[in-house]
Symmetry: C2
Subunit: 588 residues, 2 copies
Amino acid sequence: MTAYAAPIRDQLFILHDLLRIETIDLPGFAGLDRDFTAAILGEAGRLAAEVLAPLNPVGDRGGCVLKDGVVTTPAGFREAFRQMREGGWTAIDCREEDGGQGLPHLIHTAVQEPFVSANMAFDMYQGLTHGAYSAILRHGDAAQKALYLPRLASCEWTGTMNLTEPQCGTDLGLIRTRAEPQADGSYRITGQKIFISAGEHDLADNIIHLVLARAPGGGEGTRGLSLFIVPKYLADADGRLGARNAVTASKVEHKMGIHGNATCVMDYDGATGFLLGPLHKGMAAMFTMMNEARLGVGLQGYAVAETAWQAARAYAQERLQGRAVTGARNPDGPADPLIVHPDVRRLLMDQKSFVEGARALTYRGALLIDRATRGGDAGAEALLSLLIPVIKGFLTDKGFEMTVAAQQVFGGHGYIEETGLSQLVRDARIAMIYEGTNGVQALDLVGRKLPQDGGRAFTAYLKEVRDLIAAHADDARPGADFFAPLSRGLDDLQAAAMYFLEHGTRDPEAALAGAGDFLHLTGHVVLGDTWARLALAALESGEDEGFREAKLATARYYLSRHLPATALHLARIRAGAGAVMALPAGAF
Amino acid sequence: MTAYAAPIRDQLFILHDLLRIETIDLPGFAGLDRDFTAAILGEAGRLAAEVLAPLNPVGDRGGCVLKDGVVTTPAGFREAFRQMREGGWTAIDCREEDGGQGLPHLIHTAVQEPFVSANMAFDMYQGLTHGAYSAILRHGDAAQKALYLPRLASCEWTGTMNLTEPQCGTDLGLIRTRAEPQADGSYRITGQKIFISAGEHDLADNIIHLVLARAPGGGEGTRGLSLFIVPKYLADADGRLGARNAVTASKVEHKMGIHGNATCVMDYDGATGFLLGPLHKGMAAMFTMMNEARLGVGLQGYAVAETAWQAARAYAQERLQGRAVTGARNPDGPADPLIVHPDVRRLLMDQKSFVEGARALTYRGALLIDRATRGGDAGAEALLSLLIPVIKGFLTDKGFEMTVAAQQVFGGHGYIEETGLSQLVRDARIAMIYEGTNGVQALDLVGRKLPQDGGRAFTAYLKEVRDLIAAHADDARPGADFFAPLSRGLDDLQAAAMYFLEHGTRDPEAALAGAGDFLHLTGHVVLGDTWARLALAALESGEDEGFREAKLATARYYLSRHLPATALHLARIRAGAGAVMALPAGAF
């Protein structure tokens, strides 16, 4: 496969021309000029391309091996993890007092992208650790912060999230893992957790498990859950490792992809745990990290597709097969390159318009996180909350589809493992499932985010996009009818929301039956809006004409070819639950 | 994973109630009453469920191993292949004089379905052999027929197709393999072929390779190609094996899926080959088998999805997670089964409506093959020719999508290998690529099949569906507006064809840019038409009310939720090549 190269020019364009980060007055944003971001993204891209990408097929082939409770990661992972840690890449947006750089979550996100593109399974070790850092930062007491935060920031210790059990995935109310209070204020944790990413490995001295469990007195369902810190090794206040805790990996799953990451069954056999945050408020504690976590999975959706797209683009330029219908383009060669064929070009434009748009949308989301958390901006928080299920659900559905499209460009060569496309497809598949399946994202959007505050965030978003279009009503630069598909998409989105408003309470099944379509309808509009902004930013930018024209052509492609899908989704939403639920459950 | 069970009731319904095979007066159709077909499908289903399905994960895990030129198939494959041969399952539609049963291709197709559903990789060994049988039947001389046909019919010997080379996939004009005429009338074949399914294995005494190669005097491109029989072992006229021929497998590919089938690099080093059919007419000889081969791949598309769907349906009934929005359905249990949730139900209905519709469409296609080849029906031949790219391309695209949907129902459990869903997704993926990528199918449909004979077959098909709708204008049984989505779909299909007619010659790129959308537009209409016929057949059938109601509900689901996609495809087709080709190739 073609060597991965970080898309630094596009990243800088989004940060500086679209998001104009130099103009933002928030903690951590000072000094973020183009030289600084170019330097940091250049170094991140180099690490990704030179160190992580070569290990991606190694991790896929070798996987993680469990023997006598010890998991060995693929050859080369330990050394790469050391380089990742020593470069400070694990703590970009962590607090300076924890040894981090205090940069915005936006910069963390931009830095993460090439790491995920180059080696998603490897990146997850630090990704989950970052989640544990955030949870303890928000909910830990002073001693917990002092003990854990610096070590998680540096990935001297790594972290995990323990939610799923054999009998419960989406429905966390079914959790059985018990937490029994001890005289010293700690808890004894007993139960089994499954599908625990990075649950056991050889990359760090200690592993800090965050575990949802049921302590006495909390009642049934999710209300009875609390969050606990369960370290692999118990440590004193100075971080010196002591006794091995009673938590062990009893199995490493054999999965479709992300073989380089150890997905473990974790057995808690009276392990010592420490309450994190208030008792019986574990769900709330867990879900405060959700925006970041789900944005990160959305990033995986397009970042893996980016790698596949780079490979497909290069292959389509190199592979000679057939002749252009309008006359030979490579008359001296035995055939023309694949890229001359319109049907191949369509696959490439689908990928290009997706990954570039998705990158910009994800960075917009990351900036909203900064505005909400660093700036206390309630409007940003509300919009973020609305967009998160879209970023997670839509970008991972489409990311998988686009990775499959890249594989298709390779023909038979895409199906054999050595070209690497198969791994990318297999890796990309998980992002549609974990961190809340995409069905759960759709329900979150329709059932919670759309109606929240009487639909205020949704209405505000529609107005924001309509205002953008209105402001450019006389702008001839993007071309005639440039905004028309977006306008129609907004109409369809509004009509779909109206449908839910009218039917949701008296026929909740109708709303739920249309949830998946609403997620995709919203996704197309949001990506269309993002493309409109990218086109306008390109026109204003100092980039050369080739870059500007490419952005405009790609924007027109997305708007003209993908936005019309909103009408189909609206038609399905309006069809309601009738056809979906007509067949009795017993008749299946 | 839930054990696979052949869908015999649905198969019989299609054969007898939809296609009414007892009424067909063609060679091989006599005596095909319900008792006979029930017996044969029952036995095929039993073999599939009891012998082949248990070997499917075995083949996936073990794969095929090449050592010293010898390929060992997965444990159990040899014994299963013996049972398959001894049961006569490899020769259902072969001539009685070759030891076959002389039954219709339709019955062969119905028998193949459970074999593919249970173990696609295993079934390919006999599937390719059947292709070689057909090629020699049509193009072989008397001696070739006498030597090869009985042994291929029984799979005492197996067959392969050798087209692809490292530098050529779709573009067969780039083939370099040479055939040098020898004094005895044979040829010396030299070159390398890649991606040869079943190229080497331990299931049969001999392997008969059909090889496209370039003999002197035929000129450049595809016109210079001839088809050759190259046996692994040279045999005398009585089939006694003699010298080992100079053809060897130098590699078994490591693929995404179908691990149980050996995909080989085949090296021909002056191997002895025998011309099959006329010199320099190799392409024509190869492509006379194409309808059967592509129908067989379309069958793979839905047959693998059927297995995934059976598993998803069972899992959705058993897995308890969450509560129905309209009130608990399983109040005494810890949660309700997944199937109560509308978004899960939607995934299930998508799968059910696809696999049942696709089965009926594929059987309709197989019957057209019988009408064309056994009945000399030119109208059937023309319609078949039109439908083949749709059956291959649309059913494999959707088959993969539906297998992914089934995996999604399993959540995280679908991503680990032990539930089997991952294998089904990985196996299903190849059907979109081989036997002509789905891009090639789309071009075949738009560039050749649609305009053939001045669009006569296309026009006749539109009329046939419109006549069906007109004939039931006053039929209240299927429900109000039952046919409306199909009517609109036909309008869109006709409009798309008009667009190509108007633009195709002066802007061929516009037609080609819309080819993929036209394939899917046609696919939805053809599947919609098939569902309308299934619903009407159910109403006329002697099946019980539950069965009839389920068919009607599923028909309504497909028509109301999937047919509206035609408008989106039409919009994209009408957008032409502009946005697709706007970006210069160098700007990618």
